[in-house]
Symmetry: C2
Subunit: 312 residues, 2 copies
């Protein structure tokens, strides 16, 4: 197994599928998750523990966690909006749970129907539930700073608010925080600035990853800023499916296939095999007829005589 | 007038229109060029002096140069494949002439039907023709290093070949050289590496610009590398029209609208006004019915409360 320089966290099965109307059959999801893992993706967010009435597309998350847990070496991540979701998650044992907190409180109320204080109370309750488990069974808990780079409803989100919420998430019991450009407002300057300031505030070991959208075509340019400053985990979605369905105009995760090419072509190992990655994409395309998949690299193919860093 | 931190060289009227089947009427081209200039674009490549039988789309280049020359402050650039084209260009007085040399000789033979030595002989003849003019009437002559980052026909293009061709172009009389990712193979590492090595070899004053394609979605990520190393002129095309029609699979210039957003959002002034830029795009869309225009920023709109660096 290749040691990756940069870890890709595939969010398609959660962030992608939740935005798409057709429900992907559980068997197809399992096959897709297995294919992603076989391609070398080190971490997959397989679903979200939300009520099935809200997101019927993700109603099989528990079953997917159990399936993904059988894949050796794969880190299994899930989204949990609250304690109730976290308890359901803990019953099946993911390696990582992410709870989003919208730094824009307007967006928080609209998206999660909760104030900041209410979300932080959930975090504390989740922390207690985790700590009640034997140490070997405790998943990592990440607080995701949604709308950190700006909000379609509030506009500019003040930097001090981002820092304050990060500190509060850690104080409430998150092992780490993540930056999320929910609305596609981020600039490279912000990515560098927020990462450095958060590292100063909560410690470098508490912030590894970033979740970027391609709403204004800036996704991979922002990845360059993330690499420059030293972040090591990048979220992306196969075929660029998904985005935030609650932020009007915000659509399009960065495309895993193009991200892997960006990294491998500049000598950064992802541990991912392109042929198998494209095979996983074909599997996804077959399972979601009528859903548009994005990505330039799958369309253009790899450059003639290209050798990936991982293959060297 | 704002002093730009980064100059955008709009290549749509040349590189864009040459790849598109429908011929845009001359009056519409003039209106588009004027609208681009009114938006603050500092340099426009208005056409190419190739035989009308080869590219009927660009048969009105001389008239467009004359029109563009009437716009105060605008740098008017053209492509010239050879001495004959350069003489036609010199008759109407552009500020800059670019002659492409494909570093991959296979591509050179296929694209320009000339060996390296034959292209360099044309450069020397063009230099002599320029020098025969009074100093005040001499345009800058740029040699563009096409396929510098790899070739769809030859695969990897050796670094020593890129450096050798740059040196020979300067020796043959080019005032400057430019890097061109004709095939969409470039990685950020290559962009930084080639820029630094060329600066060492031919002097920093002889390399300012880069021409990047978005074939594998890497265009703006490569722009980030260009900015990091210190290049100051970036080619792009409104709506991303164009690319190299002779390189199979290579399509898609980087999108001017998304590039301007990338620069302005991180505090780099382009001198460009978004409202007028989007107006120029609407004009282009109306003049090219049925031609697909790319770009995420025009579709998503600017972020709420966004203030461009140029407007500050």
């Amino acid at each position: 197994m290749v040691t990756a320089d940069i870890e890709i966290s595939e969010v398609g099965p959660r962030d992608g599928l939740q935005s798409i109307a057709p429900v992907m059959p559980t068997a197809a999801k399992k096959a897709w998750i297995s294919a992603l893992a076989a391609a070398g993706i080190p971490e997959i967010e397989v679903g979200s523990f939300v009520p099935a009435s809200l997101l019927p597309q993700l109603a099989d998350t528990a079953e997917l966690v159990s399936h993904a847990r059988t894949i050796a070496g794969l880190a299994v991540a899930v989204l949990v909006p609250n304690l109730r979701g976290a308890l359901d998650a803990l019953a099946v044992g993911p390696h990582k749970m992410t709870i989003p907190l919208s730094v824009s409180e307007t967006h928080s109320l609209k998206n999660l129907r909760r104030t900041h204080d209410q979300v932080l109370a959930e975090v504390r309750a989740i922390r207690a539930a985790i700590d009640a488990l034997p140490a070997s069974q405790r998943p990592r808990l990440e607080g995701s700073l949604s709308t950190a780079f700006g909000c379609t409803l509030e506009g500019e989100v003040p930097e001090r608010k981002v820092l304050e919420m990060a500190e509060k998430l850690v104080a409430a019991g998150c092992d780490e925080v993540g930056l999320a450009d929910t609305t596609g407002f981020a600039s490279p300057k912000q990515v560098r600035n927020y990462t450095r300031k958060l590292w100063e505030l909560v410690g470098r070991e508490r912030l590894h990853g970033i979740h970027l959208h391609n709403t204004r075509g800036q996704g991979l340019a922002n990845v360059m800023a993330a690499l420059e400053v030293g972040l090591t985990t990048i979220d992306s979605s196969m075929g660029g499916i998904g985005g935030c369905p609650f932020a009007p105009g915000a659509s399009g995760n960065i495309v895993t296939e193009d991200l892997v090419f960006l990294l491998e072509s500049q000598g950064l190992r992802t541990g991912i095999n392109f042929e198998r990655l494209f095979a996983a994409r074909r599997l996804l395309a077959a399972a979601l007829p009528g859903v548009e998949l994005y990505g330039f690299t799958p369309a253009a193919g790899l450059p003639k005589d290209f050798v990936a860093a991982t293959a060297q």
